[in-house]
């Protein structure tokens, strides 16, 4: 089984904060570029799309953590909350740019889009569904909710599927980039139902022969 050098325990906390910091860098960098003419001739749209892509990247990354431990033995569970929250922050920024800068707070147009256009309805639903997950992304909520926390956070599967659908439907034709996220997400979601039997089988392989009876 491949292994990577373990991070000293005292660096676990700082590494999580470093992830938050690095994770927000793309947003700051693209904002600077958009404001100074570095994002081409339609900077608002470009900024909006880049924030959406990064949201999808973090949501995908959050769901990679489990298969990464199951299949490669790399335990990065300490980063999962940060990845999920970064995904939520990017979704929030993506929506804000769309509403504030793209539609310039024309609330009628925003509401019209949400009710009339399936891909925006789906995107908005994902944003709404992310709110309870973000609000309960703390130790207090995990203790308090117990096993219900796990059930609630299974919403992340639905959110990822919705996010990818939103991306595909927003394009004029099915191109390489959305197809890549479609394939990756399909793989990550398809892994969930086979996970338990797979992990059981792998454990069985690792045990001495006599213990299997």
């Amino acid at each position: 089984m491949p292994s990577i050098p373990a991070l000293p325990r005292r660096l676990h906390g700082p590494s999580i904060w470093a992830l938050y910091f690095l994770g927000l860098c793309p947003a700051v960098w693209y904002f600077y570029q958009a404001a100074t003419g570095g994002l081409g001739f339609n900077p608002v749209k470009e900024f909006e799309h880049l924030l959406g892509i990064w949201a999808l990247r973090f949501l995908v990354a959050a769901l990679v953590i489990t298969p990464l431990r199951d299949l490669a033995g790399i335990n990065w569970f300490r980063y999962r909350r940060a990845l999920g929250l970064l995904g939520f922050y990017y979704v929030l920024m993506h929506f804000s740019v769309y509403a504030l800068l793209d539609l310039q707070l024309n609330l009628g147009a925003v509401w019209g889009d949400i009710v009339k256009r399936p891909y925006i309805t789906i995107g908005m639903a994902c944003l709404v569904l992310l709110i309870p997950l973000a609000v309960t992304s703390n130790n207090w909520s995990i203790k308090r909710l117990g096993s219900r926390w796990n059930s609630l956070h299974k919403l992340s599967y639905l959110i990822l599927a919705g996010g990818v659908l939103h991306f595909i439907l927003a394009r004029k034709s099915l191109t390489l980039e959305p197809s890549f996220y479609l394939a990756l997400s399909a793989l990550l979601l398809a892994y969930r139902p086979v996970r338990k039997p797979l992990v059981k089988w792998k454990r069985g392989l690792g045990q001495p022969v006599q213990s299997r009876g």
Binding site: F31, A34, A35, T36, G37, G40, F41, N42, P43, V44, K45, F47, L101, L103, Q104, A109, G112, D113, K116, R117, P118, Y119, I120, L169, A170, K172, S173, L174, T175, L176, S179
Partner: protein, 314 residues
């Protein structure tokens, strides 16, 4: 409502050639290469002589750099910057356009012959179906001037157009993942094709067309969404029945045969009521402007569609 002004001054006077040249000298070879990527074809664009056309807009032309680096031309890739970056290998000369079908005198036109037609400057609005727009100083000639030469027969009701297929020069046409079937095809009703606003463009901003904008010859129909204005045309065919068109085939619910700019008919996935004028505003603050019926050309073309339900015939 007439939005036209009588001809004033040609674009070549508004933005003199010397201005580009001095800017290019100033920017320098290396920096220009960095900014413009693979736009070698722009650099070898030849100056074109044209008289001012009968249509002139009193709106500021979009900067040439925006027109040549932000556009859709899926044969070179699906991103807005792809056409400029990936069209360097495309060879727009030599070139011929076959004009055939229901005509008395079918003919293969060489590009040189077409360039000898009376070229005019036509500054038109361009409205993309995606919700952005530009003002573009084209150089070209009325499509009618070409169609008259081949003498369409009485049975000809439509005009079908076809783009070149050259996978070796057009990266979007080769490889595993292609967004559209090729060749790209488009069509107009014969009366739309014969309308004085409809031109075949061979130039832009006082020079021959850059590869990324549809060199060497493309259609421009300013009252329709941009995708109707097919690029790098090799075939024009007069036909009796409404021809196949690429985007309608790809998604008939979203892209109709007519595709006239219409703020009252939404694209199923977004509103068409407003548009983003590229190059206007600064940074992240860009006001949207209202989209006009027929892209502001209603007084010229609305009569073509008298009695038609424009919601059904989108």
């Amino acid at each position: 409502m007439s939005v036209y002004q009588p001809p004033k001054i040609p674009t070549s006077e508004i933005t003199p050639k010397s201005a580009y040249l001095s800017r290019r000298t100033f920017v320098g070879g290396a920096a220009a290469g960095l900014v413009l990527g693979g736009t070698a074809a722009t650099a070898i664009a030849a100056p074109l002589q044209a008289k001012p056309g009968p249509y002139k807009l009193d709106e500021k032309p979009t900067p040439k750099e925006a027109i040549t680096t932000y556009n859709n031309y899926y044969e070179f890739g699906v991103n807005k910057s792809d056409p400029a970056q990936n069209s360097g290998k495309f060879k727009p000369t030599p070139w011929t356009v076959a004009v055939e079908g229901l005509v008395n005198k079918p003919k293969m036109f060489g590009l040189e012959e077409l360039m000898k037609l009376q070229l005019e400057e036509r500054t038109y609005r361009m409205r993309c179906v995606e919700g952005w727009s530009m003002v573009i100083p084209w150089i070209g000639f009325p499509l009618k001037a070409l169609l008259d030469q081949v003498e369409p027969q009485g049975s000809a009701k439509y005009v079908a157009f076809e783009t070149v297929v050259r996978p070796s020069e057009m990266p979007g046409q080769s490889g595993f993942f292609q967004p559209l079937p090729w060749p790209y095809v488009e069509g107009l009703r014969l009366d739309e094709a014969n309308h004085p606003l409809t031109i075949l463009a061979v130039g832009l901003y006082g020079e021959t067309l850059p590869n990324q904008n549809g060199a060497p010859i493309r259609l421009v129909v300013p009252w329709k969404y941009g995708f109707k204005s097919i690029k790098s045309i090799v075939k024009i065919k007069l036909v009796e029945k409404q021809p196949e068109t690429t985007w309608k085939n790809a998604n008939a619910k979203e892209y109709g045969f007519y595709s006239n700019v219409n703020p009252a008919v939404d694209h199923p996935r977004w509103s068409q009521a407003t548009e983003q004028r590229i190059g206007e505003g600064s940074g992240l603050f860009q006001a949207r402007r209202d989209t006009l019926p027929f892209n502001g050309y209603a007084s010229e073309v609305a009569s073509l569609y008298a009695g038609m339900d424009l919601k059904a015939n989108y």
